[in-house]
């Protein structure tokens, strides 16, 4: 019943034997042990399982693993390039207080990263729309909106020709405090 498939996730190549009905979410979490991708509903309603497929946000619970063959998958584990080199979205989620229970956070961050990759200067309304596929039950979204606005500013800053290293497309370190305000007083 199982078939062997090749997946590319966060730049790494994996070969896994999976039944054809196995979702990408299950394979990421259970076979590849990339448990940063969450499962909140299994119906594609909550967005906690959001990953990027060739840079586009998708709900991994609604996609079969076999459908991801030949595509580049990015999960939350692939957002930061090093412990102290968070994606600006991650850094600002921490700094702005956009995280409470954290269960929606990976999906929310990937939706935000996708939004900013398409629209580097979103309006407040565009931020809301960009996150409308992700449910959060803790924060009332206000601090999440703020984090995305701040991440956009950071990316804009990093994209200036005179700015130092930092690639907004891949979300590499964008200058400033690399731990993203995670620095404690």
């Amino acid at each position: 019943m199982k078939q062997t498939i090749r997946l590319r996730v966060n730049g790494d190549a994996y070969e896994v034997a999976v039944p054809p009905w196995r979702t990408l979410n299950e394979v990421l979490r259970e076979d590849l042990r990339l448990t940063g991708t969450k499962r909140g509903c299994g119906d594609g309603d909550c967005g906690a399982c959001t990953v990027l497929l060739d840079g586009r946000s998708v709900t991994s619970c609604l996609m079969l693993a076999v459908e991801a063959v030949g595509h580049e998958v990015t999960t939350v584990e692939g957002l930061a390039t090093a412990r102290d080199a968070l994606h600006p979205v991650q850094a600002e989620f921490i700094a702005a207080g956009a995280i409470q229970c954290g269960y929606c956070t990976p999906g929310m961050e990937l939706s935000a990263a996708y939004l900013l990759s398409r629209n580097p200067a979103p309006t407040d309304d565009e931020i809301r729309r960009g996150l409308s596929g992700n449910l959060c039950r803790c924060t009332g979204y206000q601090k999440i909106f703020e984090a995305v606005r701040r991440a956009a500013d950071r990316l804009k800053e990093a994209a200036r020709p005179d700015a130092a290293a930092g690639d907004p497309a891949t979300g590499g370190p964008a200058g400033g405090d690399p731990s993203g305000g995670g620095a404690r007083p």
């Binding site: 119906d43 930061a80 991650q90 995280i99 229970c101 954290g102 269960y103 956070t105 206000q142």
Partner: protein, 780 residues
């Protein structure tokens, strides 16, 4: 780097782990040889189990255990350990099932597919029994009985009374009586419940579970398995929200532990969202009747409050809800006379339990809406009417609770100012082109003092170990489930010891590794109770280190030693001091290497029946009602709240915003819709909680008080504000449209029907709906 984190926007200590996806929640864990569990649930609301055949399931290759009710010890459990007759649950049904979703059997297999296949092979014959789905049916004479020990289906009654009610109403110029109804809603925490059990050679259990109350789970699990309390270790990993829905022992905990003991293999259960919504705990639906009397000038004279709580099939936290709704009915205003009677009624629905605000959202939707109705009738501005009657510091609910600090009046003034209330509200209802604004207020407990769990341990405890390398280890059973208590407790410790946050390492929520005890996360108790325990432990360390410095520098006895900026030094002569690490090393040397450890506990004593101290707040909501569609859009919410002294403004803001979101869902869109005992909207597609597009702009200010009972003066903020939102929105809907809702949620369909003059759809209870609370039965 400041060493004074209190009062600052300190980012969460678990922020990095959560932002990078490396925080581990229960379902993220897996162990070698681990079995996957699944639960068979009743498809019928009320039935006798005539026959159960598990042979085919057990024979399926890969199935390692099939468990039914008769396999488990017949020990009933429930959180109200103080009153064992209230403990009415079994992990798996033995003789009968009482709601759609009641657990009947558990399977564990080598993988999830096999476990699910095995469930389908279990044969159960049900003999259907008549079922009751609402208060009236459940309380009717001759109604079907859910639990034999409770022949009238009324499992709990509670009363509160003070003052001369008759005299109060007699002296009133204006008396009104209204009935309110509120619906069941889901906690809808994003992380579905999960549990992972391991057994050792002696059958002792380690249970990693998504819980807000490790100690309660430890004790009750031990009792259901016939183990001693400390033969069970409960570990709380990262938890994806709880809101009151994860504060009990649950069937999957029992089944996982039981199967782990039987098979010797680790066992994990993870619930689906459908299971969560269709069968999980929910907020108590209630019918509330309130009669209230005023003088012509608006002075409150008396209130008679009767409430029926629909509890569903089991008690869960119902006994607390039945009391608290009466307590909250007496809060906010100075009632010279008050009478409350409440009854908790069994029905064949999934049980209701504790949920954020516990008892207050229901009581205050009724209270606050009625205040707004009375203000309208008396021709007094609703904020003026509240100011006239507002509770003040030192007020009492006789024999129940005392109000400590109270910034309620100031909250009312501030929210009026912020929202431009007096100008915007001067326009009559329905005159603002669909726009309107309304008010609702709240008060909430900062931790509960009633020992319903009958714990023989402190309510909270903390141990602080200071090391000679300058680091400090904080150990506490307090449970961060997302609200941020780990961060706040570390702030408290860093502040008191004058060290940096990154000097602290923390172990929390582990019943084997952290000091006993802690009752968990509920009732907005953690900052105050665990915070005070941390403070006490820190002060012991501080005292020991101060002694060293006094000796070392031969300080005058009148000189204070302070711990600040990583130093232990004379406050008067800061040059006379040594680094924290050095002071610890000195203390150890002076004590033949004995480690420097502080141990703190907190147990409330002589604080009435309710809480050490109450929060207060006032909220104004602005809405836009579309007369064509009936859709209400909340455009802005203003909050002025008294949460004592603010320890972390960013965290406080986050709690207020989260309350508004949940309160708004309660007001407008959320409802578990039941039909013939089944939850028909058991998905996030159909269960409508507010999303990113729905949230209004939120503006909040803190009216700071300094509460002597809270650490650094703090009170609660995580639950109170939720109760103000629904009445504020309902009042704004009235102001915008002229329709006064007395039932929630105010859906577009109901509002449109009401505005069109069709009462049948609106779901408003007619005045004759009974809220009569029966007298308590004599108990054998």
């Amino acid at each position: 780097m400041t060493s004074r984190p209190i009062g600052k926007d300190v980012p969460r200590v678990d922020g990095w782990a959560k932002a990078t996806g490396s925080a581990l929640y229960t379902d993220d864990l897996s162990l070698p040889g681990m079995l996957h569990g699944a639960l068979l649930r009743s498809p019928v609301p009320h039935a006798r189990i005539a026959h159960l055949d598990t042979r085919r399931a057990a024979a399926l290759p890969g199935v390692k255990a099939v468990v039914v009710g008769s396999d488990l010890p017949a020990v009933r459990y429930g959180n109200w350990r103080l009153v064992p007759t209230t403990q009415d649950e079994l992990a798996l049904a033995r003789d009968k099932v009482r709601f759609v979703g009641d657990e009947v059997a558990a399977v564990a297999a080598v993988d999830r597919d096999t476990a699910e296949e095995a469930l389908a092979l279990i044969r159960v014959e049900y003999e259907p029994l008549p079922a009751v789905f609402d208060l009236d049916a459940a309380m009717a004479a001759g109604a079907p009985v859910l639990h034999e020990a409770t022949p009238d289906n009324v499992s709990v009654t509670r009363k509160i009374a003070f003052g001369d009610l008759e005299a109060g109403f007699g002296a009133s110029d204006y008396v009104r009586e209204d009935t309110f109804t509120v619906q069941a809603v889901s906690h809808a925490y994003l992380e579905p419940c999960a549990t992972l059990a391991q057994a050792d050679d002696l059958g002792r259990i380690t249970l990693t579970t998504s819980t807000q109350t490790p100690y309660i789970v430890q004790c009750l699990l031990a009792s259901t398995l016939g183990l001693r309390e400390n033969e069970v270790r409960v570990v709380k990993p990262a938890v994806g929200g709880g809101f009151g829905g994860k504060m009990e022992l649950r069937p999957w905990d029992v089944c996982a532990a039981f199967i782990a003991r039987r098979t010797g293999k680790p066992v994990k259960f993870t619930l689906s969202r459908e299971e969560e919504l269709a069968t999980g705990r929910r907020r108590h639906p209630m019918r509330l009747r309130s009669r209230v009397g005023f003088k012509r000038d608006g002075t409150l004279m008396a209130k008679d409050f009767q409430v029926l709580l629909e509890g569903g099939a089991y008690n869960s936290m119902g006994p607390t809800a039945t009391f608290l709704v009466g307590n909250f009915g007496a809060m906010l205003y100075r009632y010279p006379a008050y009478r409350y009677a409440g009854a908790h009624v069994y029905t064949n629905h999934a049980p209701a339990g504790a949920m954020r605000g516990f008892g207050a959202p229901q009581a205050l939707f009724a209270t606050e809406t009625q205040m707004n109705m009375a203000a309208e009738a008396l021709g007094i501005d609703p904020i003026e009417l509240r100011l006239k009657n507002a509770m003040r510091p030192g007020d009492e609910i006789p024999d129940v609770a005392t109000v400590g600090t109270c910034g309620f009046s100031e909250c009312l003034e501030r929210v009026a100012e912020m929202s431009g209330w007096r100008e915007k509200r001067s326009q009559g209802p329905g005159k603002g082109g669909g726009k309107g604004l309304g008010i609702g207020c709240y008060s909430f407990i900062t931790g509960g003092v009633f020992n319903w769990f009958n714990t023989p341990y402190p309510f909270s405890a903390a141990e602080v170990r200071a090391y000679a390398d300058g680091t400090v280890h904080l150990l506490t059973m307090a449970s961060d489930i997302g609200q941020g208590s780990d961060t706040v407790l570390q702030q408290i410790l860093a502040e008191e010891l004058g060290i940096r946050m990154q000097d602290i390492h923390m172990t929390a929520g582990d019943t084997a590794m952290t000091p006993k005890g802690d009752l968990g996360t509920w009732g907005s108790r953690v900052t105050l109770m665990a915070g005070n325990a941390v403070l006490e432990a820190a002060r012991q360390v501080k005292e020991e280190l101060a002694r060293m410095v006094s000796l070392r520098f031969d300080l005058n006895v009148v000189q204070e030693v302070e711990l600040k900026d990583g130093m232990v030094r004379s406050k008067f002569r800061p040059d006379r001091g040594i680094p924290f690490a050095e002071a610890v090393a000195m203390a150890q040397k002076a004590n033949r290497g004995k480690p420097v450890i502080g141990r703190g506990t907190y147990t409330p004593r002589d604080m009435g029946l309710v809480t050490p101290t109450f929060s207060f707040g006032a909220q104004v909501a602005e809405v836009d009602v579309d007369r064509e569609t009936g859709v209400t859009r909340v455009t802005k919410v203003y909050t002025a709240h008294d949460c004592g002294t603010v320890l972390n403004p960013m965290a406080v803001d986050g709690q207020v915003h989260g309350c508004i979101q949940m309160g708004m869902g309660y007001a407008l869109s959320e409802e578990l819709v039941m039909r013939d005992g089944k939850t028909v909207n058991a998905s996030f597609l159909d269960y409508k909680m507010p999303g990113a597009l729905d949230m209004p702009e939120c503006e909040a200010v803190c009216v700071e008080t300094h509460d002597p009972r809270g650490p650094f003066g703090a009170k609660e903020t995580g639950e109170g504000p939720i109760s103000a939102t629904a009445p504020a929105i309902a009042d704004a809907v009235w102001h915008a449209s002229g329709h006064r809702a007395t039932a929630l949620p105010i859906t577009a369909e109901k509002l449109l029907a009401a505005l069109d003059g069709d009462d049948s759809v609106a779901g408003e209870r007619r005045a004759e709906a009974s809220c009569a609370v029966p007298d308590p039965r004599p108990r054998g």
